[in-house]
Symmetry: C2
Subunit: 71 residues, 2 copies
């Protein structure tokens, strides 16, 4: 099982690029990429907060719990 970071969906909805989102959220594009591609092992609430704010969404729209055998 794992936690999946699903930023792409909301980014597509808001029509915002990685560069723009990184800029808006205040993290480097490199770090956003790590988050976006499930390379991160944790997240600060401050970062999650700014992501939700910028994307106008809830943590549940970004984070997903998935069992190994699912999907």
């Amino acid at each position: 099982m794992a936690i999946i970071v699903n930023l792409d969906v909301m980014m597509a909805k808001r029509k915002i690029s990685s560069g723009e989102l990184a800029e808006a959220v205040g993290i480097t594009p490199a770090n956003l990429s790590i988050l976006k591609n499930n390379k991160a092992k944790a997240i600060r609430f401050s970062t999650l907060c700014r992501l939700c704010e910028e994307l106008g969404c809830q943590p549940g729209d970004i984070l997903e719990y998935r069992k190994d055998d699912e999907e």
Copy 2:
């Protein structure tokens, strides 16, 4: 704005105590308490994962983005 950790709701639904949940998830009751009472500033996906697994829920059931003026 802030990220709110809302474990109580799911714990009540599953009728599980803090002690039991800590035990099941594999963290100390002290650390679960910190998480549960919004004293944590970040969370490891491995911990969030085990919480979701044990409570049979999604991250969205536990984490909430809330604007300062709301609620």
